[in-house]
């Protein structure tokens, strides 16, 4: 008679592999989680088969003398297959609930077989049903973890893309660049912004850079330090840095914080900064006619 | 700051080992590190930052430590590219002070140790009066 181990379930699985696949795919359709809009029947069947094969392999390798532990080496393949299938499904727009329901639908076909094979031995039946539940539940949980990790990666990637988008270096005039900063300026972003700015100076051979902070929410000591360091690096490369958009309030903050702005030129707005920058690169702005 | 060390056994084979006796050895050391980083696809900014940290520490080994040796290896746990500079010189008595920007017993900038710590992704130092000095720097790849 079966003990706590997975041996009995493995026997059932091997005895009627194709039947179980059929019923599982059937159950998925019944539960409404077989997304025929996203997956063809053949694909669904192939994935279910692959999962069951990995499950059988795991049960063969599993050490039945110890408590079931899904992180054990025996389940490496199954975890990998689950991860692959989850990723595939996430990318096609399957939701976490659908993914979990898909896994949980495997319980039905397995319970049916346990019932017919162990019907008279109530104790063994309960034990085996609990084991199958634990197994399948941990698959569903694993699926969910992969799902979350995958989502986080997507979010990270998008955040990076947004960061690049939100710090464009614009060529305002021949050899004059401007960097309109918007939002918050933490250390990571400040570093990235600075590197991007310096690279552009080199490419464009820019002589003046206007860093406009009109759109920066708050300027505290940290932000002010980042700005001054960026200005210092710009100067080291041989270009001039003008910080524009210094409101009276920010000026006050900077003075109160005791930040030495002596070496950096600052202007109230980008217009004043541009008027300053153009003569430096040999241009003059003048009115063509009275208006 | 005074830290544990990774044992030689766990760190595996050195990619490179050079003496650090002269100015020229300092150049060879930082160039070797730059080469190793580039060969592993590191961006220019990371190469420059780390090679600068190595230059500072290797110069200290020659100048303050009376000469020593330099090794490059990979940390199997983190995959970091690691550099070790060691000497059997007089060591540093007051490490906290030596780490402070602007402190130097040699009349120089005194920004090497603090700067190297900021520029490297990992920084470990083992030193003490009469114990020599061993600095380990790590670069994320």
């Amino acid at each position: 008679m079966p003990n706590n181990g997975t041996a009995h379930i493995l026997t059932l699985l091997e005895a009627d592999f194709a039947g179980i696949v059929d019923e599982w795919v059937g159950a998925q359709i019944e539960e409404g989680v077989k997304r025929s809009d996203l997956f063809s029947d053949a694909e669904s069947r192939a994935q279910s088969t692959e999962l069951l094969k990995a499950l059988a392999k795991g049960m063969r390798a599993n050490d039945n003398t110890v408590e079931f532990d899904f992180s054990a080496d025996a389940w490496d393949d199954l975890r990998a297959v689950l991860a692959d299938i989850t990723r595939e499904r996430v990318n096609r727009g399957v939701t976490p609930t659908e993914m979990a329901t898909f896994m949980l639908a495997l319980k039905g076909p397995l319970f049916d077989r346990l019932r017919s094979s162990l019907g008279k031995d109530a104790e063994a039946l309960v034990e085996q049903i609990m084991l199958v539940s634990r197994l399948v539940d941990s698959f569903a949980i694993h699926t969910n973890e992969v799902f979350i990790a995958e989502r986080e990666q997507i979010i990270d990637r998008q955040r990076e893309e947004m960061m690049e988008l939100s710090t464009p270096v614009v060529e305002l005039w021949d050899r004059v660049l401007t960097l309109p900063l918007i939002g918050t300026l933490d250390s990571a972003r400040a570093q990235e912004v600075m590197e991007n700015l310096l690279e552009t100076i080199l490419q464009r051979q820019a002589e003046v850079v206007i860093v406009d902070i009109t759109g920066v929410g708050t300027v505290d000591t940290q932000v002010a330090q980042h700005l001054l360091r960026a200005a210092a690096a710009v100067r080291l490369m041989g270009a001039e840095c003008i910080i524009s958009g210094i409101s009276p309030m920010i000026a006050q903050t900077m003075v109160q914080l005791g930040i030495d702005v002596g070496s950096v030129s600052t202007r109230q707005n980008i217009r004043a900064a541009l008027a300053d920058a153009l003569p430096k690169v040999g241009y003059n702005i003048h009115r063509v006619k009275d208006s | 700051m005074r830290l544990h060390s990774s044992s030689v056994a766990e760190r595996g084979r050195d990619l490179l080992r050079l003496p650090l006796k002269t100015n020229r050895d300092v150049v060879a050391a930082r160039q070797a590190v730059a080469r190793e980083l580039k060969a592993r696809g590191a961006r220019p900014i990371r190469v420059t930052r780390f090679a600068t940290a190595v230059s500072e520490i290797a110069r200290n080994t020659v100048l303050h430590g009376g000469g020593g040796s330099f090794a490059v290896f990979l940390d199997p746990a983190s995959g970091y590219l690691m550099v070790e500079c060691r000497d059997a010189g007089e060591g540093i008595a007051d490490l906290d002070r030596a780490m402070t920007d602007g402190y130097s017993t040699g009349g120089s900038m005194g920004r090497g140790l603090g700067g190297a710590k900021r520029l490297a992704d990992r920084f470990e130092i083992e030193t003490g009066p009469g114990k020599g000095t061993r600095v380990i720097l790590g670069a994320r790849l």
Partner: protein, 118 residues
């Protein structure tokens, strides 16, 4: 000197390209040579150090450049550091070496133009 190319005199300025294998000894020698030439030759108004070949500038090289700028100023000449790579600029800022004593320019041409303008 291996890590330093020859010193050229162009329009009242001494031009030097520093090479990437420059050692501490080389750079100190360069400081000596340049100081002497500014002092002895007439009409030298500037020194231009092209560091575009340098992958790193550490606190030692930074200090020598700063000192050279100080010496040159006493002898009524200006020092320009030109062609610094972005990665080097970022690293020097991290080291707290802002080189306030020297002027900077994108390239040799820019430096010469600025020297002319005064």
């Amino acid at each position: 000197m291996s890590g330093v190319a020859a010193i050229n005199l162009v329009e009242n300025a001494l031009l030097v390209s520093i090479q990437d294998d420059v050692t501490d000894t080389d750079i100190i020698e360069l400081q000596d040579t340049l100081s002497q030439r500014i002092a002895l030759e007439e009409n030298i108004r500037g020194v231009v150090l092209d560091i575009s070949a340098l992958e790193i500038v550490d606190t030692f090289v930074g200090r020598v450049i700063a000192q050279l700028a100080g010496i040159a100023r006493l002898l009524d000449a200006q020092t320009f550091v030109v062609g610094m790579r972005p990665a080097v600029a970022v690293t020097l800022v991290e080291l707290g070496m802002y080189l306030p004593e020297s002027r900077t320019a994108l390239s040799l041409t820019h430096a010469l133009a600025q020297l002319k303008r005064g």
